[in-house]
Amino acid sequence: MQELITRAKALLESGEVQRVLGWKQGEHIYDPEPAFFDSAEALKDFVYNGFCGANLSKYMIEAAKLEGKTLVFLKPCDSYSFVQLMKEHRVDREKAHIIGVGCKGKLSVNKIDADGILDIQGAGYPDCADTLTVDTLYGQTTVSYKDAMLERCHVCKGKEHMVCDEQIGESADTADSDRFAQVAAIEAMSPEEKFAFFQSELSKCIRCNACRNVCPACSCRKCVFDSTKFDSTQKANTTSFEEKMFHIIRAFHVAGRCTDCGECSRVCPQGIPLHLFNRKFIKDINSLYGEYQAGVDAQAKAPLTSFTQEDAEPSIVAEGGLTHA
């Protein structure tokens, strides 16, 4: 972590960057939050540890509007989002100094089965422990680092940064699950089971919009669900269109653009596995239109803005051609 601060100070002091985009300590150890640092002095609040899951790419949209360069720390998976935003002309590569920062898997406090957490040891970077020690109001407990990792780290896309100016820190291989296993498991259910599963999950949604606000692909200046253009803004109305369709449309709008960064599921206060929607689209796109990973190549044609004459017909769905594919 110190290495990051040292480098950030140097870049700020040389005037090469005007500000630093990183994470600062939150109220607890487990809730660091994204922050801009304007001076070397301000960097005293900078943190980087196992809880810095927040993907900073989206903040670079605002940074692009500011004077001068911004130093941003991107984890390997965050860098996909940055490339995707470059593809969509939302961020300015020229105004970004990107430090590709290493990652050994990010943690979720929700996976630490403990109440009254006071402190957690072993979540630092680069030195992290195999086992986290958790001090709580009610005593001490332990949990393995791996078990406390975010779902997305178990299906990590890799240690490589898709874009960066320099790299600091080592990354670890954390992938130990099949990325599409959860989706395939749902696909294998009967329609009734599928419906019951999603009804149960989506019923928890409180429409706080956290998923939308954190998502680097959901970066519209104004969301259709806040716009009068679709007659879809009926916030007070419980039977409204958006209440039921929000997650389907949100997933559709980011289909082919979603890098599967997993931020939606990370921030959902209700713990809805929102990434399943996105990953279902990714799985379908891969099997129907060829492997496509958003955020790898800013020049690649996106699956929903291209086609082939031999594309599958929509009837493939009814024929069951996409299940277990």
């Binding site: 329609p191 999603f198 039921k244 559709f252 279902k280 796109i285 929509p314 769905v317």
Partner: protein
């Protein structure tokens, strides 16, 4: 809408989006050829199948539609060259998502109907209405967030 309360006869609400150049003309031909299909089908004219936003389809379901069908020019025959190819990908993904969340996948359909295919238009609508009648009233999309 006309859902008979005592369930004697289920009259579904069906929205058919038809592209102006092929399928709407195909529907016109079905009409002038007096090829009947159930009155449950109501057609909305769009310039091209690629004009149909998934939001329109979900909106229809939300407002009480029991089935939504999208008809466009055959692949390769789009008046705008490429519109139906985009529509094909969009609808395939949308339908797959609806299937994924447990909505009966027969409630949505895409058919390519040319201006000369009045017979196909009528047959398509007859078979689609029969399918929706067999599926019954659409409740799942409406109940997606209403755990009982």
């Amino acid at each position: 809408m006309p859902v008979n309360q005592n369930n004697e006869e289920f009259r579904p609400v069906i929205v058919a989006f038809c592209c102006n150049w092929c399928s709407y003309a195909g529907a016109d031909l079905a009409g002038s050829s007096r090829l009947s299909y159930p009155a449950d089908v109501k057609i909305i004219r769009v310039p091209c199948s690629c004009r149909v936003n998934p939001m329109f389809i979900l909106r229809a379901f939300e407002k009480g539609a029991d089935g939504v069908i999208l008809c466009g020019c055959h692949p390769g025959d789009c008046h705008y060259s490429t519109g139906n190819y985009y529509a094909r990908r969009r609808m395939t993904l949308l339908f797959s998502m609806l299937d994924f969340i447990g909505v009966e996948n027969g409630r949505t359909r895409v058919e390519w109907v040319s201006a000369a295919e009045g017979v196909k238009f009528s047959e398509t609508m007859n078979s689609f209405v029969a399918k929706i009648r067999s599926l019954g009233k659409n409740v799942r999309l409406g109940d997606l967030r209403c755990k009982n």
